[in-house]
């Protein structure tokens, strides 16, 4: 073992494990603030259940609105992680190493939050178990023809697999913590690390498992957001009933996912002083991906809009114009601004590329993509086929509180997990720092040796 290698490994472990072992007052303050917001969101949901769904701004005929927007939005965000890390893993992009964990955590949490919304949006959430296929004495099963049932399966599958995908590469890091921790923590991490000893056989198995997971999770992720898009495109609602929705939604999901990832990384970089791990290079590379997705998104929107406009089906045109020039036009053009007009130059012009611009662009994209979800759902429902039944929607405080709480939940979960696991995969990073000394086994051995000394 070369000593400098050990030193590097040591520094890595020290820097990246610091948040796990050191808890500052700031942490508690943050947890309390975010916790209160999340709790008020849960309380609001309770209020909505107790008094009735009518406390929201929902009405006839806009029966889906903010809750569903947030559902699609969060499921979209969840594509950050898995997809990005899986793709980058598969193509073995080495710059990915400090990024993957961040992304995978986003995926898991965004999914958990997103999956709450189908429950929140129910009129009678206490009966949500009807969606579960269980044998009942009545012989009634869920309706497998319903996209909502597809959703149920798709999201559960995705959640399970992304949790697995997140957990697998955590094992070596858990072991690392186990080895440094004392007391109860040691016991917990001993459990979590599943007997990880860093033997070559274990490394090999982990690598294989990760490879399989990365391969498997790609189609799952694509199918999930396709199925989410089916919630809309399967219904004969003007501007919903479109074949483009599948890829359009997936592209949008990845788009918003990358943006979310960039923002999260920037925050972590600041908060945990990870400037030397999360390098401008990472932001640049992700920025390039974001640029690509922005172009793709623009392409899809152009397709969707052009075909609707050219087709000139009266029912669709009512929705179309309501978004282009009518009631929803301000939102629509803000969305175009946020998803294309602003991020494109920021990301495309070489001179402008920096961490700040990437974050700026990403913030725009997150807002824009949220608006996109809203604009897909609400204008169509407010202008269905019979003009007599046209309506409109503006949210009441419960939806807004719940939505704010969902963002707070994301932050809270992130803050909490920073206590549990290093937010950057230490072993992967170590493997990256010593490309020559691969395999990781050596790093680990070194680490263990250091411990022993």
């Amino acid at each position: 073992m070369m000593p400098e290698t050990l030193a590097v490994a040591d520094r890595l472990s020290r820097d990246l494990l610091r948040p796990v072992f050191q808890t500052t007052g700031k942490f508690y303050a943050l947890v309390v603030i975010l916790g209160v917001i999340v709790l008020s969101g849960l309380a609001t949901w309770g209020y909505q259940i107790y008094y009735g769904f009518g406390v929201t701004g929902y009405n006839w005929p806009v029966y889906w609105a903010l809750h569903e927007t947030n559902f699609v939005f969060w499921i979209g965000i969840s594509h950050a992680g898995t997809l990005i890390s899986a793709i980058l893993r598969l193509v073995n992009a080495t710059w990915r190493r400090p990024v993957t964990r961040c992304a995978e955590i986003i995926t898991a949490f965004a999914l958990m939050i997103g999956a709450m919304f189908p429950l929140i949006h129910l009129g009678r959430p206490w009966l949500a178990f009807y969606l579960i296929p269980y044998p009942s004495e009545r012989g009634i099963w869920p309706n497998y023809r319903s996209p909502l049932v597809w959703d149920f399966f798709a999201i559960n599958t995705y959640l399970l697999s992304s949790l697995l995908f997140l957990a697998l590469p955590m094992i070596p890091d858990f072991a690392l913590i186990r080895d440094r921790a004392t007391g109860w923590r040691k016991k917990v991490y001993a459990r979590l690390s599943l007997g990880w000893q860093g033997t070559p056989k274990q490394w090999h198995r982990l690598e294989t498992a990760m490879h399989i997971m990365a391969l498997a999770i790609l189609p799952i992720a694509v199918s999930v957001h396709t199925i989410v898009s089916f919630d809309f495109s399967m219904a004969v609602v003007p501007m919903w009933h479109s074949t483009i929705f599948g890829p359009y939604f997936v592209a949008g999901a990845i788009f918003s996912g990358i943006a979310a990832l960039i923002i999260v990384m920037a925050v972590l970089r600041r908060a945990f002083h990870l400037e030397s791990y999360l390098l401008p290079l990472h932001f640049q590379n992700l920025g390039k991906l974001l640029l690509l997705m922005s172009l793709l998104w623009g392409y899809f929107v152009f397709n969707e809009r052009l075909t609707a406009w050219y087709g000139n089906i009266p029912h669709e045109m009512n929705v179309f114009w309501s978004t282009q020039t009518g009631e929803y036009a301000p939102l629509f053009w803000t969305m175009v601004l946020c998803n294309f007009v602003i991020p494109f130059p920021l990301l495309a012009i070489r001179r402008l590329r920096s961490v700040t611009t990437a974050v700026l662009a990403s913030c725009c994209v997150v807002v824009g993509m949220w608006l996109e979800r809203f604009l897909i759902i609400v204008p169509s429902l407010s202008r269905k086929s019979l003009p007599y039944a046209w309506g409109s929607y503006s949210p009441e405080w419960p939806e807004i509180v719940i939505m704010v709480a969902s963002f707070a939940a994301m932050a809270l979960l992130y803050v909490l997990i920073s206590k549990v696991v290093p937010l950057i995969s230490i072993w992967e990073l170590k493997a990256g720092e010593q490309p020559a000394a691969h395999s990781p086994t050596s790093v680990h051995e070194a680490e263990t040796a250091g411990e022993l000394r």
Binding site: W321, P387, Y388, W390, G391
Partner: protein, 745 residues
């Protein structure tokens, strides 16, 4: 053990048993022994009569067992009883033909209304302020008797007044007999939308002081002047049934229907041709049409007979009514007048209808006579497909005589001591329904003692000193002799379909009781109202069926139509020169718009505004619920910068109200319209303080012959109220106005 004690005992036992049982307070109530045989879960249908408008539709009530909270022997408890569940038209009834209008369907909510007055009330606070005390019937009767005995003792019987909605059938006979026997003047009738002008015109033209009946089902051409006959006017259900037949009931024959009116009504919306006309010039248009018919030799003036004689210049060919002249006065194009005239004369049987706003102008009688003459001219009177007068069965006659509310109020106000010392109020709300210049509230305030039979606290019963709540119609013996709507002779009658829910009593029985208990009794030949009905129907019963059969059918009706078309016995003096042009209140420069209040589809004159089903019924044209509005033409609205829902001030010489704007393409640019019905200061939780009352800004113009209020003769100015939301917002059910949105891009 007598029944009374038995009930008490079982009730007590029930109470203790249930108290020990569940915690639900409802089950802790005493359970009374049912008072009637009941078949659980089995629905029975019992006849009754819709009391909500003057049509008098016969109905069937679905009655099923249920548990109601009632008071028996001063104790509150649960009673299993037959409860009315739904109202449907009586299929055999010659007016309703098995149908009811939207209002009739909602009539059931009168009985179950949460704000019904449940027992007699005595005023405790200052008049009009509200506080009442619940008292027993014994105390209530003592109060009335004290007052009536006092005026009788002072020989002031003529100071007893009775103010009521137009009564018919035996209630009318009873009240008029009671008043006569007591020594009081006849009852004062009050309706916001009274048809007295048309009755008078029909008396002059045809000898029947009665509303006409139309044989629409067999008409080939219907020319209606402002009559909302499918919605609110005369006999809407009978008209609707016949209208359906007129459209599609005869293979190969479909009548044309033309509606003449400045604001498109629900009825007008169904017309094949809609002819907007300057308000108050409908009669001129009718004479223009007659002129063309004469000119083209399609008919001769003499064909109209007596009805023609009523019109100045009729027999000389109506020289003043050339289409060109009529175009100037009415705004209807010459060519159109000529075409309508030809169509009307060529498509027999044709019938012309006038009703509603055209009669509510200062020239109302002229307008009605003109349309009557037009009918007579094409031979539609008493003929198939034309108009006729419902023959009335002989079930007793009421005392004639008329003292209008306007005169009564003026009399009270002008004398130092009120000529009315005790006033009975029945089913009328004049404080809400009269123009401010009548000063009705002020006049009533001078009446020392007012007794109301009301079931609800409205603006007028609020100033009563004593309220003797009537049963709902479903809890009472009811009867009716429809004035129009059928060619058959009809007398409807029905027994109560359910036991009273509250401590109320039927008005006719209370009047009979009062008569008996007076110090100088007014003894009428009936023990109770049921007896009275039985006696009255005895005459009819002999002819074709017995009392039981009549009760089962919901009334008696002749099998074939009878009666002459023109009553030769009632010849009237020759034509007086009548004012053909309408007069309006308010100078056109200051008040540029004609103001058209109209009976609302849901609330009629406002008497139904307390029914939640009707409040939430989207008006079929505006789709508004729980609101009222002022209808404005889009061009006018644009000129004045008014958008849909904006708060608009409507100002006449007599007052100002505000309402949200409804931009409607179906109204002339120089007319603004408002439905009557909302704007109640007090009328149950559902109607109080909702919207504004257009009657409150009407001018005191009348039709001179009948003295009827010319409620369509007011002019107003409107303006947008900047920076103000309407006090009651416009709540609409529908999104868009048009099926294909016009796009200007």
């Amino acid at each position: 053990m007598d029944r009374r004690n038995f009930i008490k005992t079982t009730a007590a036992a029930g109470a203790s048993a249930t108290l020990a049982g569940c915690g639900n307070p409802e089950t802790q109530l005493i359970r009374f022994i049912p008072e009637e045989p009941l078949f659980p879960g089995i629905a029975t249908w019992k006849p009754s009569i819709c009391p909500l408008c003057s049509a008098g539709c016969g109905l069937h009530v679905r009655v099923m067992d249920g548990e109601a909270e009632v008071v028996r022997n001063g104790e509150k408890g649960l009673l299993k009883m037959g409860l009315a569940k739904k109202l449907e038209g009586n299929p055999q009834h010659p007016i309703s033909h098995g149908k009811l209008c939207a209002r009739g369907q909602a009539g059931i909510q009168l009985t179950y209304h949460p704000d019904r007055i449940r027992q007699p009330l005595r005023r405790t606070g200052p008049r009009g302020s509200g506080p009442f005390q619940e008292i027993s019937w014994d105390d209530a009767m003592a109060d009335v008797l004290l007052r009536l005995n006092a005026i009788a003792a002072a020989d002031q019987q003529k100071t007893l007044g009775f103010l009521t909605r137009r009564l018919r059938g035996q209630r009318n006979v009873l009240i008029s007999t009671f008043l006569k026997e007591f020594g009081a003047p006849p009852a004062t009738l009050f309706e916001v939308f009274s048809d007295d002008v048309l009755r008078e015109a029909n008396r002059q033209s045809f000898g029947f002081e009665q509303l006409p009946t139309f044989d629409l089902a067999r008409s080939r051409y219907v020319l209606s002047f402002g009559a909302d006959f499918l919605g609110t006017w005369n006999s809407p259900v009978a008209h609707s049934v016949a209208y359906g037949e007129m459209r599609q009931g005869r293979p190969g024959v479909r009548a044309k229907f033309v509606q003449v009116e400045p604001r498109m009504s629900q009825t007008g919306a169904n017309a094949d041709e809609w002819v907007p006309v300057k308000p108050g010039t409908e009669g001129i248009l009718a004479l223009g049409i007659a002129h063309v018919i004469f000119k083209a030799n399609l008919r001769t003036p003499s064909a109209a007979g007596r009805a023609g004689d009523r019109i100045d210049g009729w027999n000389t060919g109506l020289q003043a009514y050339t289409p060109e002249a009529v175009e100037k006065r009415t705004g209807v194009a010459t060519a159109r007048i000529e075409r309508l005239a030809r169509e009307f004369a060529d498509n027999s049987p044709a019938v012309a209808i006038i009703g509603g706003a055209p009669l509510a102008h200062t020239n109302g009688i002229f307008q009605a006579l003109a349309v009557n003459a037009l009918n007579a001219l094409v031979g539609s009177v008493g003929e198939e497909g034309g108009l006729s007068f419902t023959p009335h069965p002989d079930t007793g006659t009421a005392q004639a005589g008329r003292r209008g509310l306007r005169e009564l109020a003026a009399e009270i106000l002008s004398s130092s001591s009120s000529p009315v010392q005790v006033l009975f109020l029945n089913d009328a709300n004049p404080v809400f329904g009269t123009p401010p210049a009548w000063r009705v509230a002020e006049a009533l305030a001078k009446v020392p003692y007012i007794v109301s039979f009301g079931s609800f606290l409205d603006e007028t019963s609020l100033i009563a000193d004593l309220i003797l709540p009537d049963h709902s119609f479903l809890e009472s013996w009811v009867d009716d002799v429809p004035e129009s709507g059928t060619a058959l002779s009809v007398a409807s009658v029905a027994a109560p379909v359910m036991r009273p829910l509250h401590q109320t009593r039927s008005m006719p029985d209370v009047v009979l009781d009062i008569g008996r208990q007076l110090q100088r009794p007014v003894v009428l030949p009936w023990n109770n109202y049921e007896d009275m009905l039985k006696a009255a129907f005895a005459a009819l019963a002999d002819k074709s069926s017995n009392w039981d059969k009549i009760l089962e059918n919901g009334g008696w009706w002749s099998t074939a139509s009878t009666g002459p078309s023109v009553n030769p016995a009632r010849v009237t003096p020759a034509a007086a020169t009548l004012q053909a042009d309408p007069q309006f209140d308010g100078r056109a420069e200051d008040y540029p718009f004609h103001f058209l209040p109209y009976a609302s589809q849901a609330f009629l004159d406002g008497s139904l505004a307390h029914l939640p089903w009707l409040q939430e019924l989207p008006d079929v044209i505006s789709t508004a619920m729980w609101s009222n509005w002022v209808e404005i033409n889009p061009v006018t609205a644009r000129d004045l910068g008014i958008a849909q829902g904006d708060a608009v001030e409507v100002r006449s010489v007599h007052g100002t109200i505000q309402a949200p704007a409804l931009i409607s393409p179906g109204i002339a640019p120089d007319v603004v319209a408002m439905p009557v019905g909302q704007g109640h200061a007090t009328y149950t939780r559902y109607a109080s303080g909702r919207g504004s009352n257009p009657v409150s800004i009407l001018a005191d113009l009348t039709e001179p012959v009948t003295g009827a209020l010319a409620w369509a003769a007011t002019r107003v100015g409107i303006r947008k109220l900047d920076n103000a939301a309407p006090t009651t917002p416009l709540i609409v059910f529908a999104g868009a106005l048009r099926e294909h949105e016009e796009r200007h891009r």
